[in-house]
Every structure is written in structure tokens, then in C-alpha cells.
């Protein structure tokens, strides 16, 4: 179905295989915890009140941030706040220890040197939420300002401000899939120099992406309290066990003395984070809340304000890319030569490998040379885990450049991609030499070409699909091949059956919006042969009651819940002998199905699930561990086509249509998967046209003590960091699941999550380019002033062949 709002449609080529499932892929399954949430019966971290944790009162915390991008803290005076009865913290009050958040080790409060505007300098606790602002206003901090550097290439110069001893290039770090990477990534295949020389067409250009943020709807936060020597933290975290390790290390206490949870101990209540998008793994708030709680002697609630949330968060770090592509006149891609300068902010670690691997995986190309260099700058806090780490940026660069190359070849952009994309015929990572678990090319591109009616709409490079008065509509395409869905160990879970037939699923994962709270019980119910989830309960994301099931991030929680199937197998081994005795059958022949357990050699010999449970003398619990295969490449593949309308008098843009096909393996929670796909397309509108963290560029102004200076963020809020509203929703959207089975996922599923945003922005900017005479956008976001520049360039070149300002050459 496709309607004036948005909907899913067509391309469900493999859905017939769902016929044997009751719940998997069933469009009738609804989101289990939605009604509870929207009637106020489910508590998010910010909703926790003292009685929820058995307390009679709690204190409230906040922190003071540095309004300068690079400075030395020369003094902090907290005496006035203390004299007023508030509890304060500065770095010297803290135990020695640092945070892990995907970046360089750094204490949770500024230690001498401020490395980015918004870095926390001091924390306070007050007996009421209102008084936090009173307490903060009583702390006086003095700074000595230092020169700062925002640009990655400038930060590599010898005379640039040095943020870290040893220079501005962070040492080895870890990638999204937790593989150790060296600071610089260098990949080389074949002979690029010779290939470029022999190419018929060479395209060379520079692209720049921007700093973007999650701006998830509910900010990070934590409620911490101590009981005896034991610390309990209710945290907005996508990985309770990571926070547990950080806190145990920080306070030098055993893991068993640190409880971290997103749950209040009820069923399925540990999945209320208010989105995360990668931001809610770890942060200052957990540690500071715990230290303050100890100092105050009462529970401390620390919920970020919208501003401190934005100022201290991880970011989608920007890339400056120099890229050179070669091709033969028949359209064959022959060479990729690229350098990515990755600005990872004040305390970011090594980043960039995923953007690099996407480039040589998406297209089949024998000659490749790609380097990426992570660089610390004072521009923002740190570059690390934001939805599609490195890949949103990488795809913008890749798919803009490939479009330009296709234009130089005078090829239809879909034909160029069909000719050069990786397919099932060569589904192997050419560097890691690992086979893909699944690939959805070329079906994805073919599906969106069909859904969008591409062949009749595409009129050529720089020629709009339609012109209506001052409005021009263009069409654009992109393909995606991203390093996502790679499960991070461990994958563990448990499934319990009680004698009354109640099933309880225990899993360490949370749900920050992706629908895990439906997916997890759905997988267990399907494996148990149940046709409804009514009697399946969920306990989750609590270091006390569940085991570590890895991080709810990286598009992997569905994939990683594969262990549930192993838990059911373990459950069978405990339960089926009893059932076999009752049925007079062999336990080996028993299977679950249709709310019964039956003998597969004689299906009429069966017992209802409930009656089989009643045979149990006590509850049985199956333990599942999934050994994650490491000899395969977990890639996410798909394609998009979009139409964008622009008013050439006002510069206003609007996405008219969006067709998106993505390889999902087998879809588990159907409604949730479709809406995630559409949601990613909306986020892409923001990434393409609106979203950008903007530091103040004003220079040469004498600083006034106590006020912000040049280099501070101008838009740490929803007013100026512009998230798309419903007015910016694409008029029509097709979400097309390509269900090529992934044998490593539960029931053949693979991850969705962040894969739904990758490539959305470049599809829109390619379409806008098509509407505006082929003007190439070389930066994100394409804000209204950039659209105006394109319109003016087009008007200035009226009638002339589409051109760009690139330094392209033809040899």
C-alpha cells in the first residue's frame, strides 16, 4: 500500500516463506509496550521518583560547562554554593579514573585544560530540582583562554594548538564492531596510479561533511544511590554492563557491588530510554551521580538539561574527503583513490574504518587506495557513536562522487551502479576476504527503480523530472553497503517456563525505540510454537536479573538475540523428557507448534503447551549462548530513490517521494521494521537539509569574563539544531524489505537500526542536484543558503551545459 502519508509496499518477494510462521513477519503484531508508554504507565529514567527506589527523597544534580573551546581553568570557587547548603564537585574531589565513551581517556570533569566548549567543569547537587539552577549560579570559574583549532587538516600542522601530549592524532582505538584499529587506516588493492593513468575518465573532488548529533528526544540521565557499599544506578544506557564495568573500575569495587539497570524491576519496563541512537552508551552522568550520591548520602538524580546533553554528547564526526575516481568509457569503475580526514573532536579516539570499508565494499573495483586519519580538534566533545558511525558521512561522499563520475560518463546513474555494484556473484569483503552473510543487491536497486518509476522519470543529468511554475522536481539515487549488523559478543539469554504455562524471557538488551521489547518475546514465542505473545513476559537490561547480551546498538540487537533460540533448545532438553513420557513418544521427536508440543512422526499425538507445562514440578529455565561467527562479513545493503522539489524563488525544498529497499534478512517485527525504515528516511531529511552543530566563528572579540566566547556552540537546542517536523515528512514513502535470508540471524533476520539512515541524505541531495541543473553539493547539510547558491549558479548558467566547480579532468 502506498498512500498520501507513507506506507510500505511491494517488493515483498520472499514473504511467502513467512507462511510457516505465526508471529515472525506478521503485520498484525503490534508494539507490546506502546500502550503502557502512552498512558503514562511506563517509567523512563527521567520519571523516577523517590518512591520508585524505596526512598523518601532524593537530591538533584546538574553541571556547569565551560563556555570556551580551549582554555585553562585557573580557579573554581564553589564556596558560595557550599555555604548555601549545596554539594559541589570539581575534578580534584573525584577518585582517579576516566571514562570510556569511545574516545580518549578523560576524567568526567575538566582536569586543568578545557578541550571543547561545553566540557563539564563542576557538578552540583541540591535538595530540589529548582535549586540546581540556584546552586550553579553560585559557582565562579576563571579561565585563561588558549588558541583553538577546529579544522582537522589545520590541526595536523606543526604550529597548531596541541590538545594532547604526543599530538592531535589519537592512538589506536576501537571501531564500531569493537575491532582494534590503528590511528590511521590505510587500505590498498591493485595499482591505483596505473589504473588512473589508463582510465578514460577521471573525476577528482573534495567533499566536507558536518558535525551532527543524535538529539534523541529524552536526554541522558542517571539516578544513583549507595546502600552499604553497594552502588545502584538507574541509567539511560544502551549497555548496562559497560556502565557497570566503568563504575566498578572507577570506584575500585567488585562488579557484584555495582547494579546498573534501565528497569525498575517490573516486566518489560527496561526498554524506556526515549531513544538513544548510539548516544546512551556511557557518559559523565553515571559517574558524577554516583560520586554525588556518596557525598550527599542520599539518592541523586542527574538528568541532563537539553543544553548540557547537547554539549557533552558524542557526535557524528565530520570528514573532509579528497577523492579521485577512474573509469573506462564503457562505465567500468577502475580506480578509487581517497583520503579521509576525520575530525573526532576534543577527546575522540580513532575513527574512520567503517567509512573506508564502505567505499571498497559497495563497488567492485580492482584498484583501491584509501587512507583515513583521525584528528583531535576543539570543535566538539568527541566523535564516536552516533547512528551509522562514519557511514552516513562516507555514503554522502561516495554517492555524490559516483554520481559525478556517472555524469562524466554520461551514463544513467542507476545503470552505472548496476554495472559496478557488488552482488551475490562477488559477495565477499575484498580486504577482509570474508563472505557476506547476506546481500540484497541488485534486488534493492531494482525494487526502488520499479517503485519510483525511475525509467520514465529520469530525463538526464541536470534535467528536472518536472517544472511547475517556480517549482522544479529532481530525482536521485543511491545505493548502500555498510559495515553494520556485526554482532558484538556476548549473545546470551534465558527462557523460562512456569508450570502454569507462563513464559519469561530474560535478556540483557534494552529498547530505545527499535521495538526490541516486541522482537525479543516474539522470537521466543515463535521458537516455542506459540501463536500469541500473551503469556510471554520480559525481564531485561538489569545486571541483577539478566546476563550480558551486549549493547543495544549497532543495528544488532535482533541479530544478537539469536541466543534465544539456543535458550529454547536448552529448555527442551530439560522439559521434553517429561513430556515424552506423558505422550509415550521419544523426546527427540518432539517439536513445538501451534500452541502444542507434538510428535513429528505422529502429529496427532500432541499435548497443549499449557498442559505440557503443567507436567512440570517447578519452573524450568533454558540458557542460551550464541557463538557469533567471526569468519563472515556482516554488511547492510540497500538502495534508495527520491524526488525532491525546490522552489527556485524561495530556496525552500521538500521531499516529494522516497523509495527505500533494504536487506533485512527475514523481517521479525514487521510493523516496527517498516516504521524504522520510514523513520530513517525522515532523519535523512534532517541530515541532508538542516542538521548541523554550529560553533560561533566570531573572532577578535575581547573576551568578557563570565560570558561565552568565540567557539561556543550557538545551537545546543531544538530551536536552532533543526530536527525535521511533520511538515518536512516526505509526501510519500515506500519501505521495501528485501528478505534475503541471513543464516546467522534468528529465523534468518539481520539488523535494521541505523542502516535506515545511511544514504538517505545523499539521495535527497542527488535529487536536488538533478532539479537544479546538475549543481553538485559538496557539503552537508545543504542549507537554504547553499540552495540559493545553486539556484544562482543555475540562473547564471541558464542554457549552458550543467557544470560544477570541481577540478575534474578527463584524460
Amino acid at each position: 500500500m502506498s498512500s498520501s502519508s507513507s506506507s510500505q509496499s511491494s517488493g515483498e518477494n520472499n514473504l511467502s516463506t513467512n507462511a510457516k510462521f505465526a508471529l515472525v513477519g506478521n503485520p498484525a503484531v503490534t508494539r507490546r509496550d506502546l500502550y503502557a508508554k502512552i498512558t503514562g504507565q511506563r517509567k523512563y529514567t527521567q520519571d523516577i521518583v523517590p518512591s520508585d527506589i524505596g526512598a523518601s527523597s532524593m537530591w538533584y544534580a546538574g553541571f556547569l560547562v565551560a563556555p570556551h573551546p580551549h582554555a585553562i581553568v585557573t580557579s573554581i570557587d564553589t564556596s558560595e554554593a557550599q555555604n548555601a547548603g549545596y554539594v559541589t564537585l570539581v575534578e580534584s574531589d573525584l577518585p582517579v579514573g576516566s571514562l570510556f565513551s569511545g574516545g580518549r581517556a578523560y576524567p568526567p570533569l575538566v582536569s586543568g585544560e578545557v578541550l571543547y566548549a561545553g566540557q563539564p567543569v563542576a557538578a552540583v547537587a541540591a535538595p530540589s530540582a529548582n535549586e540546581v539552577v540556584d546552586a550553579l549560579s553560585k559557582i565562579k570559574v576563571e579561565y585563561e583562554l588558549l588558541p583553538y583549532v577546529f579544522d582537522a587538516q589545520e590541526a595536523l600542522q606543526a604550529d597548531a594548538p596541541q590538545l594532547w601530549p604526543g599530538g592531535n592524532v589519537p592512538g589506536g582505538g576501537i571501531s564500531e564492531n569493537r575491532q582494534a584499529i590503528s590511528a590511521e587506516v590505510n587500505v590498498s588493492l591493485g595499482d591505483v596510479a596505473t589504473a588512473l593513468q589508463n582510465s578514460d575518465v577521471v573525476y577528482e573532488d573534495t567533499f566536507v561533511t558536518t558535525v551532527q548529533q543524535h538529539f534523541e528526544i529524552l536526554p541522558r540521565g542517571a539516578i544513583a544511590y549507595w546502600s552499604g557499599g553497594q552502588l545502584t544506578v538507574h541509567a539511560t544506557t544502551q549497555w548496562a554492563w559497560l556502565v557497570q564495568i566503568i563504575l566498578a573500575n572507577y570506584f575500585a569495587i567488585p562488579l557484584s557491588d555495582v547494579i546498573v539497570t534501565t528497569s525498575l524491576g517490573g516486566y518489560e519496563d527496561g526498554g524506556a530510554l526515549g531513544n538513544g541512537l548510539g548516544n546512551k552508551t556511557s557518559g559523565e552522568e553515571y559517574v558524577l551521580a554516583a560520586v554525588l550520591a556518596k557525598k550527599v548520602g542520599a539518592p541523586v538524580k542527574f538528568i541532563h538539561t537539553r543544553m548540557t546533553h547537547a554539549l557533552t554528547t558524542t557526535n557524528r564526526w565530520p570528514i573532509t574527503a579528497k577523492i579521485k575516481l577512474g573509469a573506462m568509457s564503457d562505465g567500468t569503475l577502475t580506480a578509487i583513490d581517497a583520503v579521509y580526514y576525520c575530525n573526532v573532536g576534543g577527546r575522540g579516539g580513532a575513527q574512520g574504518s567503517d567509512a573506508v570499508s564502505d567505499l571498497y565494499n559497495t563497488y567492485v573495483c580492482p584498484n583501491v587506495s584509501i587512507s583515513s586519519i583521525p584528528v583531535n580538534t576543539n570543535k566538539f566533545a568527541l566523535g564516536a557513536f552516533m547512528r551509522s558511525v562514519g557511514e552516513e558521512q562516507g555514503h554522502f561522499i561516495m554517492e555524490s562522487a559516483m554520481d559525478e563520475l556517472a555524469q562524466k560518463l554520461n551514463m544513467d546513474p542507476t545503470a552505472f551502479r548496476l554495472k559496478n555494484m557488488r552482488t551475490s556473484a562477488n559477495a565477499v569483503d575484498p580486504v577482509a576476504k570474508k563472505p557476506y552473510t547476506t546481500i540484497a543487491q541488485p534486488q534493492s536497486l531494482q525494487a526502488v527503480m520499479s517503485a519510483s518509476n525511475w525509467t520514465s522519470k529520469w530525463k538526464g543529468w541536470g534535467i528536472p523530472t518536472s517544472v511547475n511554475g517556480t517549482k522544479r522536481t529532481g530525482i536521485g539515487v543511491s545505493i548502500q553497503n555498510a559495515a553494520k549488523g556485526a554482532p558484538i559478543p556476548p549473545s546470551t539469554s534465558q527462557v523460562q517456563v512456569d508450570p502454569d504455562g507462563t513464559v519469561t524471557v530474560y535478556i540483557g538488551l534494552t529498547d530505545h525505540g527499535a521495538g526490541g521489547n516486541t522482537t525479543f518475546p516474539l522470537i521466543a514465542a515463535e521458537a516455542l510454537g506459540l501463536t500469541s505473545m500473551d503469556n510471554v513476559k520480559l525481564i531485561q537490561s538489569d545486571t541483577r536479573y539478566t546476563t550480558n547480551s551486549s549493547v543495544t546498538a549497532g543495528s544488532q540487537s535482533t541479530h544478537n538475540s539469536h541466543s534465544l533460540l539456543y535458550a529454547v533448545e536448552d529448555l527442551k532438553s530439560q522439559w521434553f523428557p517429561t513430556v515424552a513420557q506423558s505422550l509415550g513418544a521419544s523426546a527427540d521427536n518432539l517439536v513445538f507448534g501451534n500452541d502444542t508440543i507434538y510428535d513429528k512422526t505422529n502429529p496427532s499425538n500432541s499435548i497443549s503447551f499449557k498442559n505440557a507445562a503443567a507436567l512440570l514440578k517447578s519452573s524450568v529455565k533454558g540458557f542460551g549462548v550464541w557463538q557469533i561467527p567471526e569468519d563472515v562479513a556482516y554488511r547492510s545493503t540497500g538502495a534508495r530513490i527520491a524526488e525532491v522539489e525546490v522552489d527556485v524563488v524561495t530556496g525552500e525544498v521538500h521531499v516529494v517521494s522516497h523509495s527505500f529497499a533494504l536487506g533485512l534478512g527475514r523481517t521479525i517485527f514487521y510493523k516496527g521494521a517498516m516504521h524504522q525504515m520510514m523513520g530513517g528516511s525522515v532523519m535523512g531529511v534532517g541530515s541532508a537539509f538542516y542538521e548541523e552543530i554550529i560553533p560561533d566563528p566570531s573572532q577578535d572579540v575581547t573576551p568578557k569574563p563570565g560570558y561565552p566566547t568565540s567557539g561556543s556552540f550557538l545551537n545546543p537546542n531544538y530551536h536552532d539544531y533543526e530536527i525535521p517536523t511533520i511538515m518536512e515528512n516526505p509526501d510519500t514513502a515506500d519501505a521495501i524489505p528485501v528478505q534475503n535470508i541471513d543464516p546467522t540471524g534468528p529465523f534468518g533476520a539481520t539488523g535494521i537500526g541505523e542502516n535506515t539512515i545511511i544514504g538517505a541524505d545523499v539521495t535527497y541531495t542527488n535529487a536536488l542536484s538533478n532539479a537544479l541543473g546538475g549543481y553538485r553539493f559538496k557539503k552537508t547539510p545543504v542549507r537554504i543558503e547553499d540552495v540559493v547558491a545553486a539556484i544562482q549558479a543555475m540562473n547564471g548558467n541558464a542554457g549552458a551545459a550543467p557544470s560544477t566547480t570541481s577540478s575534474s579532468t578527463t584524460s
Binding site: 540546581v132 540556584d134 524563488v649 550557538l714
Partner: protein, 337 residues
């Protein structure tokens, strides 16, 4: 840029008459401010903008100033505390003052229109992000306009400034300018009526403070009066913005044209979001008189509308808004053609 996001402590003063409101303002000197809807003032206070944060708030929401009265001979009278949403949905305004109806419907977002008020939209502070982030600019106790030197893409004038270059952000004030509205200002000495252009001069120095409106610390707007629409007149509005909700105008145009047949006999054309106050495009107005609306006269009027534009070339620069201003004028005029 500040850490907190909560309203600092304030003392609440609730008058029962406008006279009492004014006497409270007088009594507390410069330490008290009027709060009508509160969407602007409370936001400013949450941001900790030093020179804009009062110690006392005089809440006038309970005063009998929530009304819209239309009379064919007297025109339109809108009470100070009338919600923007009421202006946006009033049938008489929709019929007789389309420009005001349309402008009111593009203010901020629905909930903010339900709370924000007629007078508040007129005298709200600039939304320049330097002021909102507590930079020490002219309006916040300093002596520099950061916008001139820094990121002036969205919030700085393209028609110059004096000390401060921050634009007047409102939408309805642009329509009021085009409709030649006047405002009633209550002060200690009683009520004064003044043209809206006198209330919003672009820059005023009151008690040594740089402000965008000319109100003394003990004055308040009580009513906006719009004369009856001229016979044979038509009006329209266009607002260019990035997102079609929440955002302020990057450029807007309010147009009131009086026709003699198809010939324009009088033109009122005011631009919003591009100058320190709503900007009357006099050259375009003169040009339009005697013309009829055709694509070429509209294009010429749009060019004339930005005569005298001096976009900033320091900092980021903001010349693209000259283009957007022409676009807003083109759209608004086209709506009447």
C-alpha cells in the same frame, strides 16, 4: 551558552488592572518585567540571559485584555493578551485582513500560538543566537554585535544596523506595519497611542540599555489597533523559512494593495526578518503604484524591494537573504495577481 535550563527564582506580581501593572513596574524599577503569554520571557530566563532576566514578573494574563473587536468604521482592536491562535482563527481578520490572518498562522508552532500573545509577538526580544546564548552583546550589557563578526546567516539584518544588527523576529508585526496599525501604550501618565513604527524603531536606548522597542521600563502595550481595510484593497503574506514550523522568518513580505480596476492605486509593502525592525520597501511601493500585477512588474517590484540592502560581508555573510527577500515579495505579490 549556559548549563541550566530552568527558570531562576522570580517574584510574582499579579495586578488586577493595567494601571496597577504599570504602578508595579514603576515600584520595582527596572527589576520587573511584564509577562503576557510567557513563551519568550520564560525561554530567555531559562537561557540565563543576564540583561533580559527580571527579578520580578508582572503577570498580566489575567487582565481583561484578551479580545478581538472588529468594526467597519473603527477597524480592528486586539487586546494585548489575545493569543496568536485567536488572531489566526478569527473570521473577521481572515475576511478583512488576510495578511494578518496568514502571518499569525505562520508564527512558531501551534502550542506556542495558543500561549503567545498579540503584544508579545510585537515586543519580543530578538532571537539572535548570540543574545539567546548569553553572549555579552549590546543588548546584554556588552559593547559588540557578535553577529556582525560571527555567524550572521539567519538573525542579522541585511539592511544595516546601528549598534545591534539583530533582526526583529516577529511575523504579525510585519503585517501590522503593512496595515498601518497603531498601538496603545499604558504608562504612569496614562495611555498614549503611537504608530507601531514608533514602538519598534529598530533600536532604542532606554535607561542606558540597548533595546529593540521604545517602551520605558514602566510602560506596557495594551492594545493594537488596525484601521479599516481600504476599499478595493487586497492583502497577502509570505514567509520564507527553513522548516515549515517553529522557525522564524529568514525573510517575509506583507503586502496591502489598493486597486482601481486592475491598476494599483496604493501599495504597502513591508519586509520582515531582514532588518532591525519591519522594513518598509518604499521604492517598491512607489514603483507598484500605477502598475498592474504581471510577472514582469512583480519581478521588478521584488528587485526594488531590496534597494538599499547592505548584507553583511563580515563573518559568515548573509547576502543569500537578499535573494530570499525577493522571493518572499514575489510570492506575496503573486498571491494577489
Amino acid at each position: 551558552m549556559s548549563s541550566n535550563n530552568e527558570v531562576p527564582k522570580f517574584g510574582l506580581l499579579v495586578p488586577s488592572t493595567t494601571e496597577q501593572a504599570v504602578s508595579l513596574l514603576t515600584q520595582y524599577g527596572g527589576q520587573a518585567k511584564i509577562m503576557s503569554g510567557g513563551t519568550d520571557l520564560l525561554y530567555t530566563m531559562k537561557n540565563g540571559v543576564k540583561y533580559k532576566t527580571p527579578e520580578y514578573v508582572v503577570d498580566i494574563s489575567g487582565l481583561p485584555l484578551n479580545y478581538i473587536n472588529y468594526d467597519a468604521t473603527d477597524g480592528l482592536r486586539i487586546g494585548a493578551t489575545t493569543p496568536i491562535a485567536s488572531i489566526a482563527s478569527d473570521p473577521n481578520i481572515a475576511q478583512y485582513y488576510p495578511v494578518l490572518n496568514q502571518a499569525a498562522n505562520t508564527v512558531a508552532a501551534p502550542q506556542l500560538r495558543n500561549q503567545g500573545t498579540a503584544a508579545g509577538d510585537v515586543i519580543q526580544d530578538t532571537w539572535c543566537w548570540y543574545l539567546r546564548n548569553n553572549y555579552p552583546c549590546w543588548q546584554n550589557g556588552g559593547n559588540v554585535c557578535f553577529g556582525v563578526l560571527g555567524d550572521n546567516r539567519y538573525y542579522q539584518s541585511i539592511f544595516g544596523g546601528r549598534l545591534t544588527y539583530a533582526v526583529n523576529p516577529g511575523d504579525t508585526p510585519v503585517a501590522y506595519f503593512a496595515l498601518n496599525a497603531d498601538v496603545a501604550v499604558q504608562g504612569p501618565g496614562g495611555t498614549t497611542n503611537m504608530p507601531i513604527s514608533q514602538l519598534l524603531p529598530g533600536e532604542a536606548i532606554v535607561d542606558g540599555k540597548v533595546k529593540e522597542n521604545s517602551l520605558q521600563h514602566n510602560e506596557m502595550v495594551t492594545e493594537i489597533h488596525v484601521p479599516p481595510p481600504p476599499a478595493n484593497s487586497k492583502s497577502s503574506w509570505y514567509k520564507v523559512r527553513a522548516r515549515q514550523s517553529f522557525d522564524f522568518a529568514l525573510a517575509s513580505a506583507a503586502v496591502v494593495l489598493t486597486f482601481n480596476g486592475s491598476t494599483i492605486s496604493h501599495a504597502s509593502l513591508v519586509l520582515g526578518g531582514v532588518d532591525v525592525a519591519p522594513h518598509r520597501a518604499t521604492a517598491a511601493e512607489s514603483y507598484l503604484v500605477g502598475q498592474s500585477l504581471t510577472p514582469s512588474t512583480i519581478q521588478e517590484a521584488a528587485v526594488k524591494a531590496v534597494e538599499g540592502a547592505a548584507p553583511l560581508t563580515t563573518g559568515t555573510g548573509n547576502s543569500f537573504r537578499v535573494f530570499l527577500t525577493q522571493g518572499a515579495v514575489t510570492k506575496a505579490l503573486t498571491l494577489l495577481s
